[in-house]
Assembly symmetry: C4
Homo-oligomer: 283 residues x 4
């Protein structure tokens, strides 16, 4: 592989970050920012233009591709977790340490917060057109649901908590299956398959809360909406509802990931070794 | 491939199941549980939230990805049949023996039963909201269709029986084509392609019964619904209707699989064996 | 590759057809039968169950996967044309001779005819439920459109003819691009990509006639419908309309295929040769 | 790879264009023509047949596949930019020079203009049926939106300009990520992934203007519509609106592409060079 020294290569020689922590921080921050900036804009099209443009299938495929490309862009620099619950799953696996986990989570939350700010700015005119300038968390002109999750009317706190355990659990379970080297899924297909998992969860477990299943994508934007929407975003429909999408995903991710290993992963044979000998690392 | 001894590897060294039968049972049980837990939740979103969330295309793609990832997770441990009719097809191929087939089918039925129980618990609040707590098999508030198939009003028993032969037959036919080594489809694409077959069948042969085409996915949940819904689940619209989705798939799978071989598979040439010798690296 | 002598292998040893013509005939007949049996069933779900089940996106993706899997199953035995216009394009390329082209076309037409018969039988109860047993080519209970194409009311014969030239032309153009060895598209992706081409054409050039773009898929079923629907199928909306979907595709396929070569294909460089030496043909 | 000397090969020997500039011009012209001819036809089906055929999801997937196959057909001859903003991004990267950029852009604009002419001719009957022969840029029978973008009523010029910077920026960002050799995405997947990026942008940032994000696709057709629709196409909703989709994409593409490199691309390690030595064939 010969890389031409074009302008990006020349700039890279000067600007390349070699500090591992900073590189990871930039990657997780930027990846989660992209994921939330795109994903919350999908929600905006769904809520503000219901029926004419986005339907539920657009929400499912839109978010799926947002995951696909955010992961694809950041996979080689930080592993593309983009989700504190997935980071926590890797922590329980012993793949990363406590400090690194906290760095990941701070970067992700910051990305989620700024992603929400970006969508608020981008669709400012459209939101004003929809609610005539009066921001509402509930009611016919409510738009807070663009940014953070609010449960269906029938849904209790317990139901919401279980919902987020199950949704994030399935995500973690299938992520673990896809990346398990013994399953021999080519690494360039990991990101597209994660997208498929999101479509699947959106079609099956999206009815109660809208499948946030990612604290950075729910808490980050919820904190941002404190400014334009007021404290109602932390008290609708109850003062403790926000705990469900913020904390249940951690429990779900750990359970889901380990369940995969208990039922399947532990018992897989090692693939027959096809030998190759790496020659040199300079490219 | 060097596998790092992280926590999952350490646990694997202790917990690994080497008994082939137990490994296969765990895999088929867990895979069919996941398939039905996710798939029946898709049906729930379709029936309980019609119009606003899931449309037919969500049902098609949702079930497709449920197949894709359930198969991908369990392919290396048990071959990922997840369907007694497909297991029976392999039995007629002579790939597995009678005892093994029965073990597969018991594991699959158990997975289907528990998948239904899981969805019933998960969407308990949503179902209550929809039917005000009165479980119904027929009528405007019927929800039994979340779990097992009930035919369209115009559909006779004979029509239902043929429907399941044809639907499962097409599934078995294309599964046989995709996995036929002489067609040289890379094995990591098998699961995604199975998903595409499901979308295709849902768009073409889903109108009469809703394409169950899998006895574990239909009979397992139907038995579960005896408890909350009563015996009506075995007598609607007739006392023998349930026979169609339970037994016709076996006939269909055998016919479909062998039809592929009679028209195509038998006549394929063996692929030319290629051995690659890398000559030079300049390109 | 070691192939286990299971029942299908044992049967293959006895039943294998080595006559090239018969093998090709079986393959093209069976592939076109599958394509039309599945595809016309998709149309049936669209027409008989409008709004509740299939929408236009289901028609697009359903037919796409019908192409994908019909092609995948028959690619190695006959090249999976499954369309007389595509066969004619290969004839103009000099890839096949006149006699072979005629064999392909007869097999394809027979497949289309029997595919229509299969769908008519399969959805007999559903069609009766829809039209109360009175088969109609036009009007509110018309169902002839399940089997063959009928133009939108505004569409002239000239418009229909151009429509089929353009639609089939685009199909032939992109098929030629995908299979051009100089574009280095892996052969296992050809069939899935053909499906994508169908989705694209259905979303762009499906409004006038419903994109038949395949004489075997239009004329074969139209001849079948002479029996249940009467001669109206050849005189609606005019006695010469049927000429458009029957003959224009041949013109379109030749123009589209060669246009690709004139603008792109002729000017492609040969890929850098990565040498491999085939060792033996026994597998 | 042995290429059979069939008719296309024989013709190639005579007609092959070896002049690099002409080859590139033909490729970018033809690719952008195909993209716009297909894409604007998708818009026609959306606007003329709203509800019955194309919904927003059809527009998203239809345009996506139009990109996929236009790029796939022209990738090896000209790199398949098909978009002046993407060409400009490569210019800022130093991958192409000023003269070459101008050649690309002229070819693309010409392709867009003729693509619009083609769709106008193709759907002439359908447009007449819809607007009774009176071409309108605004109002209930407006059809100018088939060809060029017109903003949502609430959308200011500033909002439109930002919209096109953001939409094209995301396109350029992810195109840069996908083609970055250090991300090791196989080149045959580039075109399909570009399609996914389009679906994503259509579901998230399509509400204001309908995501043209390509001056050749917006200005080329807008100039064509001067003839049938009159000067209103350059003065609706304001005389300077057309500046947004024409010039903002250049700014967006440069920002988006470089943002990828600043946050991610600069900091990627070179992949370890692997040289495979096949050891044994028993597996």
């Amino acid at each position: 592989m010969t890389l031409i020294k074009n302008n990006t290569e020349v700039a890279r020689d000067k600007a390349r970050v070699k500090n591992e922590t900073l590189k990871v921080f930039l990657s997780e921050f930027f990846g989660t920012f992209l994921l939330c900036f795109i994903g919350l804009a999908i929600n905006a099209q769904f809520i503000l233009h219901k029926g004419t443009l986005n339907q539920w299938i657009n929400v499912n495929f839109g978010w799926a591709f947002a995951i696909v490309f955010s992961v694809m862009a950041t996979a080689k620099t930080s592993g593309a977790h983009l989700n504190p619950a997935i980071t926590f799953m890797f922590y329980t696996y012993g793949n990363i340490g406590l400090i690194k986990m906290l760095i990941y989570i701070v970067a992700q939350l910051l990305g989620g917060f700024l992603g929400a700010a970006g969508v608020y700015g981008f669709y400012y005119e459209a939101i004003n057109h929809f609610d005539h300038g009066v921001r509402a968390v509930t009611g016919a002109t409510a738009t807070a649901g663009i940014f953070a999750s609010y449960p269906a009317p029938y849904c209790s706190f317990f139901g919401s908590f279980v919902d987020q355990i199950v949704g994030t659990g399935l995500l973690a379970l299938f992520v673990s299956a896809i990346i398990d080297q013994r399953n021999e899924v080519p690494s360039h297909l990991h990101a597209p398959l994660f997208g498929g998992v999101l479509v699947m969860i959106g079609c099956s477990f999206g009815m109660n809360l809208g499948y946030p299943i990612n604290p950075a994508r729910d808490l980050g934007p919820r904190i941002f909406t404190l400014f334009p929407y007021g404290t109602g975003v932390f008290s609708s429909p109850s003062t403790y509802y926000w705990i469900a999408p913020t904390f249940a995903p951690f429990i779900g991710a750990a359970i889901g990931g380990w369940l995969y290993h208990v039922f399947i992963g532990f018992h897989l044979s090692d693939p027959v070794k096809k030998e190759y000998i790496p020659i040199s690392a300079e490219a």
